[in-house]
């Protein structure tokens, strides 16, 4: 497991959000945020484009 240091002020900000947004812990939130960004970057290209194009179907949105 790798360890990452973050600024205390940032940690406090995250802690406030975590309580409101329904995450179990700061760690859970941070991991989710990283996964989210990675997902966007990794999926950039065909898959994301396909999904965006599908949203143009009248039946969907």
């Amino acid at each position: 497991m790798a360890k990452i240091k973050i600024d205390s002020a940032l940690y406090d900000r995250v802690k406030k959000i975590v309580e409101v947004a329904g995450y179990g812990s700061v760690e859970e939130f941070v991991v989710h945020m990283i996964e989210r960004e990675l997902s966007t970057l990794e999926a950039a290209g065909d898959e994301a484009e396909v999904t965006e194009r599908l949203r143009g179907l009248g039946y969907l949105e």
């Binding site: 329904g22 995450y23 989710h32 996964e35 989210r36 997902s39 966007t40 065909d46 898959e47 396909v50 999904t51 965006e52 194009r53 599908l54 949203r55 143009g56 179907l57 009248g58 039946y59 969907l60 949105e61």
Partner: protein, 685 residues
């Protein structure tokens, strides 16, 4: 004196054309509804259809499970259930990429091949390179019924048929087909409009469109029409065509200059079709490639702020370039040579512009009128060029006008007052009257010399309440964890955990078990599948709307019961069949969750048909008595084949409309809308 007998044949017969062969004419009105037809026929408003009914030539038509156009038309085309043709929804998922969605009917396979030269990677399909170019393939499996007619030498003319893009090849040269629903616009989507307004501050994308600011210097502004992506560049860019807008300082008129063409418009006026050519730059030693499109401009407003709407860029039918939208490839250009330019995109009505509040109701009514007028023009062409054989002609108006204007009750409409809702439902009634007239003209012209069928793929129902099936699955513990917001898109919020998720929903009607060995991250054992399916079915059928305790779901079909064929294993495990008034929620279709399971539909898209098959059968009318019991979509292909003396293959489970018979009770086949309901009613005694 000798008598000389002059053979009369010599004098009279040489120029006589042979009598026409067998004629079968099929008019397809997407979404035409039997309940509305019956009410209007009873009121004397559809005299030609009523005459067919009086002659025994009318029945509701069993639709597909689920009643979605690509599924239903594929049932029609193959004469078989989705287990044979493999189309189960508009949206399928790729189990190897865990619920990654894709458009069901056509697949673009991007090629990595190419000649690497500077900033470019250019596929060269010829020897010695033999690169595989990016290709779009038709996903529908099975054999279309027209292949059998083609083999038998029957002339076939098919206009705008859905679920046949790219068009299947004619193996014997007797078919001409113009593809319909499924054909993309030039940007590769289902129809992306472009809207330019002084009130827009930034360029922004929305579902179905792009909004851009218009910055005037004095009375002129420059903007750009986005085009296709230039994928020959290693870093693909979006192409664009610049245009200039000049507004009159005081009058409500404006001028648009685009690629040497000048368009003068009054406020509220639509332009004719305008050609736009996108340049795909190439390395200096190769000529630039071109992508040819057409579009129409609508000057919505001039003062105080100018607003200009541009239709989706359609593929130019007079010069489609490498885009194959007809079979043979030049069929579409032959049509354009005679008719001029016309919509080629599969979805021609700009319903997104209404949903996104760019169009008002009257503006949408105007645009869809133009679509209908073009179709009627194409129908005239089709009729003039029809001698004998099969003629199939499709209308989208009954579907895409209905999605936005249909409302057949006094319940509160999502966006309109009671009076307005009635008024616009009246637009649909007027449409039915007009199409009744179209039918009448064909009956008058061909009379008993042709078998005439008028059909639809499904009916229609109000869409008042939306059911987020993914939220329901999450709240009932099938999607985990409890706080997740989406199964697909992390931008919507927390994603689910596949390790603890047992089932998920994608598309308009499908529920998938997260089955081990099938789904990439599957966890449900094969031994647990049966019990889970029955549990889901029972619970879904028991759902009640908290607003008034109404049942929400009329049927939950197990695809292992209603589908059979080589493609059945790719299907969702369950198809959810909603009651009239209900449909899957907008968010759930691509895997997103909302707070509430049930909520009101607030969209201008206020009517739909992606519900229980029993609720929205289609119609079948004929100029001959229909003898088959409970006819369904799968009966039409065998009917057409038998009319031409061609024996239907084994894969077609239906039978001719004109002979007594019915689908076997034991048939593991869909399209049994009425059968199932009546059978179930009988079972309950």
């Amino acid at each position: 004196m000798a008598l000389i007998v002059v053979p009369t044949l010599f004098l009279s017969g040489c120029d006589d054309a042979p009598p026409p062969g067998k004629r079968v004419i099929v008019l397809g009105f997407d979404g035409m509804d039997p309940r509305l037809c019956e009410r209007m026929m009873d009121a004397g408003e559809l005299p030609n259809l009523a005459k067919m009914r009086a002659g025994g030539g009318f029945s509701p038509l069993g639709t597909s499970i689920p009643p979605q156009s690509p599924v239903a038309w594929s049932n029609f085309i193959t004469g078989a259930n989705p287990g044979v043709h493999g189309i189960f929804d508009f949206i399928h998922r790729n189990p190897a990429r865990q619920c990654a969605p894709f458009y069901s009917a056509a697949d673009t396979i991007t090629s990595e091949d190419g000649w690497d030269v500077g900033d470019y990677k250019i596929p060269l399909a010829f020897w010695p390179f033999n690169h595989n170019p990016t290709q779009t393939k038709l996903r529908r499996a099975g054999t279309p019924f027209w292949d059998y007619l083609d083999e038998a030498g029957v002339p076939i003319r098919i206009y705008d048929i859905p679920a046949n893009y790219p068009p299947s090849r004619s193996h014997h040269g007797h078919m001409c087909c113009l593809s319909g629903m499924g054909v993309p616009d030039l940007l590769g989507g289902f129809g992306t409009y472009q809207y330019f307004s002084e009130e827009e501050l930034i360029v922004r994308q929305e579902d179905g469109g792009i909004r851009s600011p218009l910055l005037f210097r004095g009375d002129s502004a420059r903007a750009a029409l986005q085009g296709p992506r230039h994928t020959y560049l290693k870093r693909p860019v979006t192409t664009e065509v610049k245009f200039d807008v000049y507004r009159h300082p005081t009058e409500s008129t404006a001028r648009v200059d685009v690629q040497g063409q000048t368009i003068l418009l009054q406020q509220g006026e639509w332009s004719d079709w305008v050609k736009v050519t996108y340049s795909l730059t190439m390395p200096p030693f190769l000529p630039d490639a071109k992508a040819n499109g057409i579009c129409r401009f609508y000057l919505q407003q001039v003062h105080p702020t100018l607003k200009l709407y541009v239709t989706p860029i359609n593929i130019d039918p007079s010069d489609p370039g490498g885009q194959r939208i007809s079979e043979p490839e030049d069929f579409v250009t032959r049509i354009a040579d005679e008719l001029g330019l016309f919509y080629t995109a599969g979805f021609q009505e700009d319903h997104k512009a209404l949903s996104n509040e760019i169009f008002t109701d009257p503006e949408y009514a105007d645009q869809v009128r133009h679509v209908l007028d073009e179709r009627l023009n194409l129908l005239r062409f089709a009729d003039e060029h029809y001698e004998d054989g099969l003629l199939f002609f499709y209308f989208s108006s009954t579907d895409l006008q209905a999605h936005m204007f249909w409302w057949d009750s006094d319940e509160p409409h999502p966006t309109r007052s009671k009076e307005e809702a009635r008024k616009y439902h009246g637009v649909i009634e007027q449409l039915y009257r007009e199409l009744d007239g179209v039918v009448g003209r064909f009956v008058e012209k061909y009379g008993d010399g042709a078998t005439i069928l008028v059909m639809s793929d499904h009916g229609f129902a109000n869409f008042r309440r939306q059911f987020n099936v993914n939220t329901w699955l999450r709240d009932n513990g099938y999607v985990q964890p409890a706080g997740c917001k989406s199964i697909l898109d992390p931008r919507r919020g927390r994603l689910n955990d596949w390790k603890t998720t047992k089932a998920y929903a994608l598309g308009l009607n499908g529920v998938y078990i997260n089955l081990k060995g099938r789904e990439r991250d599957g966890v449900v054992e094969a031994s647990e599948r049966e019990a889970l399916l029955e549990e889901l079915r029972e619970k879904l059928l028991a759902v009640r709307d908290p607003a008034d305790n109404s049942p929400v779901i009329a049927e939950v079909y197990r695809t292992d019961e209603v589908y059979s064929g080589p493609e059945a294993s790719k299907a969702p495990d369950l198809i959810v069949g909603y009651h009239r008034g209900y449909r899957v929620s907008w968010a759930a279709t691509l895997g997103d969750m909302t707070e509430e399971v049930l909520s009101d539909n607030h969209s201008a898209w206020s009517a739909d048909h992606c519900i229980a098959a029993e609720e929205v059968p289609g119609v079948i009318f004929s100029n001959r008595p229909i003898k088959r019991e409970h006819p369904a979509l799968v009966d039409l292909a065998p009917t057409i084949l038998e009319e031409f003396g061609v024996a239907p293959p084994e894969t077609m489970t239906g039978g001719s409309l004109f002979a007594p018979g019915a689908l076997d009770a034991g048939d593991n086949v869909t399209d049994r809308g009425f059968d199932r309901k009546r059978a179930r009613a009988a079972d309950r005694g």
